[in-house]
């Protein structure tokens, strides 16, 4: 898709003519590609830093990296406002950063510091940034899907125009909570945008072996809501699909299901040796379909970005992550003296 639009409203009119109600997205990969490039680079560098710290024995526990999937987090979160809600997954670093989290505070959480988002009680799988509307990553597959329904119910009842984006993976689409969540959201026409990040494997189980009917998006029809399959490695395509879905939710049109096809380059978690897929498959996605390289290539080719801008964005992302890591390392460790502190109000 090649867009020659001059502003977000025009971009929006392409997909849903005449119904734009005026809540501007926070970033615009079509007309301001630099901001979305920076966001995706920040996610990539953050996760590469996490991976390196882990391999050097400086970071412990587990982690689930979304390297290769950045266009989904950015394409969707670009269309939101601070204060819109997201619910995330075990693979949530990208969503969290794209929705406005501070990388230093996130890194501090991963490094078990008292200054982390959860003061060391959460770790990688439970980062929440409630102030910005991020209701939390979740260690249970599909665990946040019904919670998203409730966040949307409260917004509908209070009468705000906030929307809730519910991120989940292809694996979660086969959990019972997926069905209960989509059904109830449509029964009550709640402002939820369901974003399936289909990275094609639930741990080792490929989607074609796990998913009857073959398509998650097609399941939307069963709930009477719009469903769309999107190239999840094309940040502009994700953004446009999300704009339409967010706008529908904001204006009282109810939920939408987006299935963004993408690919994770790393294993499911640190213990995964990728025995269920070929190195050729991983390299094909990494070398030929990488969402960041594709976006850079396209923007440089059509003149929206210069090589100098790209180089500057890359070094800025590296520098900002270096600073985040060193600031996080310098922070005080999580404090055992307050072990029981947050269990009850």
């Amino acid at each position: 898709m090649h867009l020659r639009c001059t502003d977000v409203q025009f971009a929006f009119d392409l997909v849903m003519p005449g119904s734009y109600i005026g809540v501007m997205p926070r970033r615009d990969p079509v007309n301001d590609p630099l901001s979305s490039l920076r966001s995706m680079l920040e996610i990539r560098r953050f996760e590469e830093a996490v991976e390196e710290l882990f391999s050097r024995g400086l970071l412990h526990g587990t982690m689930h990296l979304s390297i290769g999937q950045e266009a989904v987090a950015e394409g969707v979160c670009a269309t939101l406002q601070t204060g819109d809600f997201i619910t995330s997954t075990h693979r949530g670093h990208g969503h969290t950063l794209a929705h406005g989290a501070d990388p230093t505070t996130m890194m501090a959480e991963l490094l078990q510091k008292n200054t982390g988002y959860c003061r060391g009680r959460g770790g990688s799988m439970h980062i929440a940034d409630v102030k910005n509307g991020n209701l939390g990553a979740n260690g249970i597959v599909a665990g946040s899907m019904t919670i998203a329904v409730g966040a949307a119910l409260s917004q509908q009842m209070i009468g705000t125009d906030k929307v809730v984006v519910c991120f989940f993976g292809d694996g979660a689409a086969n959990e019972g909570a997926f069905h209960e969540s989509l059904n109830l959201a449509k029964v009550w026409d709640l402002p939820v945008v369901y974003v399936c990040e289909n990275n094609q494997y639930g741990m080792s189980m490929s989607q074609d072996r796990s998913t009857a009917g073959g398509s998650v998006a097609a399941r939307a029809a069963a709930y009477g809501m719009p469903g769309e399959t999107v190239d999840g490695n094309d940040v502009e395509a994700v953004c446009l699909a999300s704009l339409e879905a967010v706008e529908r939710a904001r204006s009282g049109g109810g939920p939408t299901l987006l299935e963004c096809i993408t690919y994770r380059y790393r294993g499911h978690s640190k213990s995964d040796r990728n025995l269920y897929r070929t190195q050729e498959e991983i390299e094909d996605w990494r070398d030929n379909r990488d969402p960041i390289q594709r976006f850079i290539g396209k923007c440089v080719e059509d003149g929206r970005l210069s090589n100098e801008q790209v180089t500057a964005a890359e070094s800025a992302a590296r520098e900002s992550l270096r600073r985040a890591v060193s600031e996080a390392f310098a922070a005080p460790d999580a404090d055992p003296a307050d072990l029981e502190g947050a269990a009850y109000a």
């Binding site: 003061r119 409730g150 409260s154 009850y344």
Partner: protein, 324 residues
């Protein structure tokens, strides 16, 4: 002061709180037009309308997930799970989500949800509609656990649960629904974590909960005929647990008995026994004795269910044998 049934006290207590807090919402199966399968929500739809008293599909995970998500974002919720057995269907939300979110996020959020659910045996419903599962919830950090035995406690503890910022699982006992009691006029608010001495005595402490409270009281009357003066404690809440009330009583009587509907293994009485053994060991004149349901799924047939659940006879016999 008005006499209310236990089931009417539920609707009475909910109405009190829904009038106070115009944001408060109810979610559950068959709670609106039908008034609840145990008729505990009769009249609420008429008073508060279908937006605030919401029938849901038969989707227990969605009920509790929606309750939690709404509560985290500004709308406190009373959610009903029709039978407590069905908590197993949505236990991810109970055990992994609402109980842990506050802690896992370093206190960034509160989850002011009350999960009301019909608990306990005696109705001949069989093993999937009769369990007492308050111990399932007691063992999960982050939850509070309440199980009232009288109409006035229903109203007051419901108010305390709703006003509590933490998730509370509120067990209403099926076999107490028709029982009656006085409820004070005006706003009734109680406190979580306070047990009640419902009968004073000096020879033995009997610790009971919910439907086992009236049985323990009847047993105490029978024991008195034999010259045994039993003190009966209604725990009312398991979390927070009023250990002080238990230990003070045991220090006085020197003997402790628990009466539980939970199956034997890991019923709440085991925790009480452990606390008493640890904290009041030198005050005891004999072992702590648990009177429980055997470790079986509950049967439907009257003769079998009556044998399984602690009866007045079993309480009397057990206390007498152990005091001899």
């Amino acid at each position: 002061m008005a006499e209310l049934s236990y089931r009417d006290a539920v609707a009475h207590g909910i109405a009190q709180e829904m009038r106070r807090d115009p944001q408060l919402v109810m979610l559950g199966e068959d709670i609106a037009g039908a008034g609840g399968v145990f008729k505990t929500t009769v009249g609420l739809l008429d008073q508060f309308g279908p937006d605030r008293v919401r029938d849901t599909p038969i989707s227990e995970q969605a009920i509790l997930g929606a309750a939690m998500g709404a509560a985290m974002t500004g709308v406190p919720v009373i959610a009903e799970i029709m039978f407590s057995d069905f908590l197993a269907v949505c236990f991810d939300i109970v055990a992994n989500e609402m109980a842990k979110s506050r802690y896992m996020t370093g206190g960034q959020m509160s989850v002011p949800v009350v999960v009301r659910t019909a608990n306990g045996g005696g109705s001949r419903f069989g093993a999937q509609h009769s369990q007492s599962v308050e111990n399932w919830c007691m063992m999960i950090p982050g939850l509070k656990v309440v199980a009232p035995s009288t109409p006035s406690d229903v109203v007051g503890l419901l108010a305390a649960s709703i006003r509590d910022p933490d998730p509370v699982v509120f067990f209403e006992h099926k076999s107490l629904m028709a029982s009656k009691g006085e409820v004070p006029d005006g706003e009734v608010i109680d406190e979580l974590g306070k047990a009640k001495i419902v009968r004073e005595g000096s020879d033995a402490t009997i610790v009971a909960l919910a439907y086992m409270v009236p049985r323990a009281l009847e047993a105490a009357d029978r024991l008195a005929e034999d010259g045994i003066d039993a003190e009966v404690i209604d725990l009312r809440t398991l979390v927070p647990l009023d250990t002080n009330a238990i230990l003070t009583s045991v220090t006085k009587t020197s003997r402790a008995f628990t009466v539980e509907e939970n199956p034997r293994l890991c019923g709440w009485g085991a925790e009480i026994a452990s606390i008493v053994a640890h904290e009041a060991f030198w005050d005891l004149d004999g072992p702590v004795v648990r009177i429980t349901t055997p470790h079986i799924p509950l049967p439907a047939a009257e003769a079998l269910e009556d044998m399984a659940i602690p009866s007045v006879d079993r309480i009397v016999t057990t206390v007498k044998e152990n005091l001899d």
